[in-house]
Symmetry: C2
């Protein structure tokens, strides 16, 4: 289906980059490592935002907004967090430009505008937020605080890739404060469940929920929970994380509260986020050689109607029928577009909507009018079907959309399940990682040394220690030492 | 009503700052000139965003996202624009921190991470966007482009004030590209109307639509349209602007297109925006000595129910009635909160909701239960009334909310209309500006010299040349030269 898209099995990475550009999702910008998110890509982000925002508010979270800049002295307060981000942050040092006397029309940084203290463009907002929470929290009555922020953040990445890794990205970051360890852990777990629920039921992306090993944890966290996904090329992708921060930030920023018992204690913290990376997950989970495939729940356009005609008389007759269907679908809350552009042939339009992953396409031609039918085409399996244009049409389309949502999930889950291989020796491990890819479920002794050795030799890392693991003992594939449970290894994005 | 809020007529500026903090809208942050927008303030911004976003989409605009950073070489391409913002921009010069060897646990900027080209944190996005549009536009078929972006921007302000002037602020910025001058002007005017409509009908804030004089124009614009508002202290506030950019940016970034006739022409541009400043407009238009007053349309909580009780038995009986009312109101789409917190007395709650400007408060006590009534209190005029708790209750509350919306507008419009004084000589002009304040409608010869002289001597500037002016000739109040129409002067924020 000549969309000039590379095939996934020939060059997955090339396929991905081409798809992003050709489906009009994003493009590179003049700023190193930063992309422009185009209207169609942004509309998908808006669908993600709207649903997640609803879910977060329903669970008692409120939105707020904290400054883009973090003064260096605050940034370095939580040492592990600072260490983790120090090597990749954009630093504002001056606040004024002036005319370049040697070069008319050009500007140079005015050296006299040097800041007394440098400002870090936030790579994450724990520091600025905990410095603020200090003012908000005196007593247990001020707790919990459950705040979320939709924001841009900057991490100076050396190797970038559309959506998956860009120097600037958009995300939501939750920052909560609690009076007890238990309550904070409860919050982290419930957010991990919320992310899993969102990914599986809204994005149709199956996840494995788990805990990160120490070396993969968020800098400054005591524990990092994650939702891990498997892409079609056998590489894992971390879709979201939630961190139990213990009292690390409360100690760094001296945030204490009076407990119910009247004593003074440090506040317990969590933070968690998902980002525009989710659009990468979406593309690589459902996309095929014809382009993007969108689960109906987050398709900005769920149904497109394309008229097929020769004369303007024919078009006029089709318009009447199409507009009726359009209204009926809209009344049921289905987002639909009628593409009656005259400059473009139907075949061109079909290609375009396949590339863009529109779930359902209706085609109406003069013969369909005679028979009072429409041709319906599903993006996920490219199947076509003739439907009566009767009172049941909208209901039938709703059924197809619902079926597509579940069947996309089923297909992705089948793929993901098949991608997990249990392995008990290191040779097989290496073979599987290099040839089949996917998750390898293997015993690990819990040491950073073993983890590091495996990483250096195979590029596979521990993606997570799955929650709800069955605790069957075994021996570490690399050290032979006893292990309590299997963990999941994979190469990853 | 002891809220410890300064009185407006004693110290307006102090009243404003205290209100912002005490109503939990925002607070200062650790970053010079940047504020933290607290959940309640941000909820108001979300209401503003939701409605404006809907209006912009309905008029064919799409959202997208462009990078936070502008490389210096792009920033300086449109010289007037660059000149206008050069003195107030945050500049990123480095991308890495390293350990300070002299000071354990501290970080310093790594000198080896100096960027080859400095990045400007966007003060506005014309440069980065027009550099992108260059790739998108070849032919008239690619036009118009009507894109909006919700984003944070940074302008390094020396004197800041909550919402009105902060170094970082949130806004929407529209950037459109057109094939003809007429179409671009049409867009600018229609956005100016959209802003006026939004402010008047949604925010209950009366505006004067007009054109800016040359000295008050956006840097790089051919014409700037504005919506001007009048605050209670007699100072004007510019609530939103839309700019006709002519071909200035197309020329600076070399963006040409093939016209329908086959020739090559530069693209015509507009840009326009409103920001978190609108929250300042809202506070200063409707607020009173008891705190914030929110028009029901943008109140995050429209109705609050407060139980008044002595025993837990009484509370239980009230709960039943209150929850029924709560459900009935929610079913009609009214956002309502039931405040049954036990730690706080009713009087404390009344104060809090007055400070926060909740439009309607329902009070229910044991005697109300007996009589099957509720006490309703309106925030705008602080009037109280007894309403039957019958089938009409929700309808009656809806009527009160609707009445409050229109009467807030009426009151603000009356104030604004009374604030306009026609003046024909410079002495009276000075007296009015200094004593009464408000808008002074006076003749002006159209020269920058006269404008500058008036500004230096009185601090009043031309807020706008009103659209729909009657063209009655006169003589400039300062030069005596002939003038075609009156313009509006005022001191302003």
């Amino acid at each position: 289906m000549g969309k000039n898209l590379s095939k996934r099995n020939q060059d997955y990475s090339k396929w991905y980059n081409e798809l992003v550009v050709k489906a009009d999702l994003a493009e590179n910008s003049a700023v190193r490592g930063c992309m422009v998110i185009k209207p169609y890509g942004f509309a998908i982000w808006e669908k993600i935002q709207a649903e997640l925002d609803r879910m977060l508010k329903e669970t008692g979270h409120e939105n707020a907004y904290f400054p883009l800049f973090v003064p260096k002295s605050l940034f370095e307060a939580e040492e592990k967090n600072a260490e983790g981000f120090a090597k990749e942050c954009a630093i504002v040092t001056h606040y004024r430009l002036k005319n370049d006397k040697k070069n008319k029309g050009k500007l140079i940084v005015d050296p006299s505008s040097r800041l007394e203290e440098e400002l870090i463009v936030r790579p994450t907002s724990e520091a600025i937020i905990w410095n603020t929470y200090k003012k908000w929290i005196q007593s247990y009555r001020d707790l919990p605080i459950k705040i979320n922020q939709w924001a841009n953040v900057v991490r100076w990445e050396m190797r970038t890739r559309f959506f998956l890794r860009t120097s600037e990205f958009l995300w939501q970051e939750g920052h909560t404060a609690h009076e007890s360890k238990e309550e904070a852990i409860e919050e982290v777990k419930s957010i991990n469940n919320l992310y899993a629920n969102f990914l599986e039921n809204f994005m149709a992306v199956p996840v494995i929920q788990g805990l990160k090993s120490e070396s993969e944890r968020f800098s400054g966290a005591v524990d990092t929970y994650c939702v891990e996904t498997m892409m079609q090329d056998g590489k894992a992708l971390q879709a979201g994380t939630s961190h139990f921060l213990g009292q690390n930030f409360a100690k760094a920023f001296d945030v204490k509260f009076t407990t119910k018992q009247g004593s003074l204690d440090y506040v317990w913290a969590t933070s968690w986020g998902v980002s525009t990376r989710l659009i990468g997950v979406l593309i690589m989970t459902h996309g095929d050689d014809n382009g993007l495939v969108l689960p109906p729940n987050l398709a900005p356009i769920q149904v497109v109607i394309v008229p097929v005609y020769k004369s303007s008389n024919e078009l006029n007759s089709i318009n009447k029928v199409a507009n009726k269907i359009l209204d009926n679908l809209r009344n049921e809350g289905i987002s639909v577009k009628y593409d009656d552009r005259e400059h473009f042939k139907p075949g061109y339009k079909f290609n375009e909507y396949e590339l863009k992953g529109i779930p359902v396409r209706l085609t109406i031609g003069p013969k369909d009018l005679e028979k009072n039918v429409v041709e319906i085409s599903r993006r996920d399996n490219l199947s076509k079907k003739i439907l009566e244009n009767d009172n049941e049409l909208v209901l039938n389309i709703q059924k197809i959309l619902a079926d597509m949502q579940t069947s996309l999930f089923r297909k992705a889950k089948e793929f993901r399940d098949n991608s997990i291989t249990e392995v008990d020796d290191y040779n097989t491990f290496k073979t599987i990682i290099n040839i089949k890819g996917g998750f390898v479920s293997a015993h690990w002794d819990g040491s950073s040394e073993s983890e590091e050795k495996i990483k250096n030799e195979t590029k596979a890392t521990i993606r997570c220690i799955p929650l709800g693991n069955s605790f069957k003992k075994g021996n570490c594939i690399i050290s032979g030492k006893p292990s309590l449970q299997r963990v999941l290894f994979a190469k990853s994005y």
